[in-house]
């Protein structure tokens, strides 16, 4: 493992961001719009709902955390998609770069890009809508850590999917957060869900984060061990996703897919 090689993958993405407004703006524009939209929505709900229910912390906080997960996932996939779009696979994979170095490069890049989105969301949510992180206390950092790990896992899984199924399958990857959100209980307690959906939710690390967040905001008890379990799940999922990517890459090397990767060559 040579850190300079992983850094090169992240540097390539930094160069692309630096030279393109179309790439840089989405790092924070959509999450900022989400903050504004859900910020006003939360304010309005505070005026019509039962006194004592704080939607800013329940709803806006949930949107902020969910958008952070989405940014992390997209931060990973975007770096990979840049190689797909510029047909750069042969140049990249015919170098000494190992798969673990490449994946580390994707993660390094998303640390930087998701931090930009998070910073903008935090500024807007606190300065404009009065979201106070005191409501979450010290748990805010582990919440972010679990969501970060899960975002990385889903991002790597998405990259593997596109490597295996071809560039057109990127449309399977974009909607993954929307597909997961009903199960993760982003906006409602898991007890709302039918039994079979709760079984799925138990396998999703974000569900532990959002349950914990709601418990803290309502002043209820919050089980740290549940979040630890969620964190453990996320670590396992990162390892599984990395193993899946590595397996797909091996298949691509065996079949020659890497060398002739295009929308038409993969079915």
């Amino acid at each position: 493992m040579r850190p300079r090689r992983a850094a090169a993958v992240a540097l390539r993405h930094f160069y692309l961001l630096k030279g393109s407004v179309a790439r840089f703006l989405p790092l924070f524009a959509w999450v900022a719009i989400d903050m504004v939209l859900w910020g006003f929505m939360s304010r309005y709900l505070n005026t019509v709902a039962t006194p004592g229910l704080d939607f800013v912390h329940r709803l806006l906080g949930a949107v902020l955390l969910w958008d952070f997960f989405t940014r992390v996932m997209q931060g990973v996939t975007m770096v990979f998609f840049e190689d797909v779009w510029s047909r750069n696979f042969l140049n990249v994979f015919a170098t000494p770069l190992s798969i673990s170095e490449y994946v580390c490069g994707l993660v390094l890049s998303t640390i930087a890009t998701s931090a930009v989105g998070l910073a903008v969301m935090l500024v807007l949510a606190t300065a404009v809508f009065g979201l106070s992180f005191a409501a979450y206390g010290a748990m805010f950092v582990p919440f972010l850590a679990v969501l970060f790990l899960f975002g990385v896992a889903i991002g790597i899984f998405g990259c593997a999917l596109v490597l295996r199924l071809g560039p057109a399958s990127e449309w399977f990857v974009w909607p993954i957060p929307a597909l997961i959100s009903p199960f993760a209980g982003v906006f409602y307690p898991l007890s709302t869900l039918p039994e079979w959906m709760r079984h799925v939710a138990r396998l999703l690390p974000p569900s532990y984060v959002f349950e914990g967040m709601r418990a803290l905001v309502s002043g209820g008890a919050f089980s740290g061990s549940a979040l630890l379990w969620g964190g453990g799940l996320a670590v396992v999922q990162v390892l599984l996703a990395s193993a899946f990517f590595s397996r797909v890459h091996r298949h691509a090397v065996r079949t020659g897919l890497i060398a002739r990767y295009s929308a038409e060559s993969v079915s």
Partner: protein
């Protein structure tokens, strides 16, 4: 029936320096896709300071061979050693000594020349990278394009960038897949001169594919003709046509493409 005697047309080739050691050893290399065999038990070497031409009609197995040498295609069987390093077992160490340029694999057009060289320089672990990039920009006449995106360069300029990238790590094995295809004759001659200069330096060897037989005669010390995934002929490109009763390398190429059985190696 023995082939008719024909006086071969020859061109002055590169000065031949006997290779002192091997930079590439390929033995019994085979790649099969189900029942289709793309490369069938190919064995050859490339010596230090040597330029070897890998020739053959479309579909003969040249690019498949090059892809296996680059580690992006796993052989069904056989061994590849770059210097003394086994590619299958020590992929990164083997590829650190290798580099390539291929007409079908341009560098990302959305990065500038400098950015591309910096990124690939880091990946190849080039020491004193900034100085090396400056040296290559000068050598390949790219100084004025340093901050230009590769996508807006002409074919010739893009080829020079690809070659600069291929030289970044001072490779011991340089793989060139039709590097002069689509270039005008003047630019192609310039590129050939640079590759000859690289080989003459004596630290690395070159494996070169091309469909331009004039170019092959001018540049290559030795050629291998592939047909249906096998090495059919091997020898000096200036004497090989005469040995097989052909007037030129181009005629020999056409014979390999149309009637390989008549030339089959014993």
């Amino acid at each position: 029936m023995p082939p008719p005697m024909v006086t071969p047309v020859t061109t002055p080739g590169p000065s031949r320096v006997p290779p002192t050691s091997k930079v590439l050893s390929v033995s019994a290399l085979r790649k099969a896709y189900g029942n289709t065999v793309a490369v069938d038990g190919v064995s050859f070497d490339v010596g230090r300071g040597e330029i070897v031409g890998l020739l053959g009609p479309n579909g003969a197995g040249k690019t498949t061979t090059i892809n296996m040498l680059l580690g992006v295609l796993e052989p069904t069987s056989g061994a590849i050693r770059i210097e003394d390093v086994d590619l299958a077992r020590q992929r990164s160490a083997a590829l650190e000594r290798t580099n390539f340029a291929a007409v079908y694999s341009p560098l990302p057009g959305n990065l500038t020349v400098y950015q591309n060289l910096r990124v690939f320089g880091l990946i190849y672990g080039v020491k004193s990278l900034s100085a090396r990039i400056a040296e290559l920009l000068e050598e390949f006449d790219l100084v004025r394009f340093r901050d230009t995106r590769c996508g807006v360069l002409s074919s010739g300029e893009q080829t020079r960038v690809a070659l600069a990238k291929a030289m970044l790590n001072r490779p011991h094995l340089l793989l060139l897949d039709e590097p002069t295809a689509s270039l005008d004759p003047a630019t192609a001659r310039d590129i050939r001169a640079r590759i000859r200069g690289f080989a003459a330096h004596g630290t690395g060897g070159v494996l070169w594919t091309s469909h331009n037989m004039y170019e092959v005669e001018e540049v290559c010390h030795r050629v291998l003709f592939l047909s249906h995934g096998k090495v059919l002929l091997e020898g000096d490109p200036r004497t090989l046509p005469g040995e097989h009763g052909k007037a030129s390398l181009e005629e020999l190429f056409i014979a390999v493409a149309r009637e390989p059985l008549s030339l089959e190696r014993v």
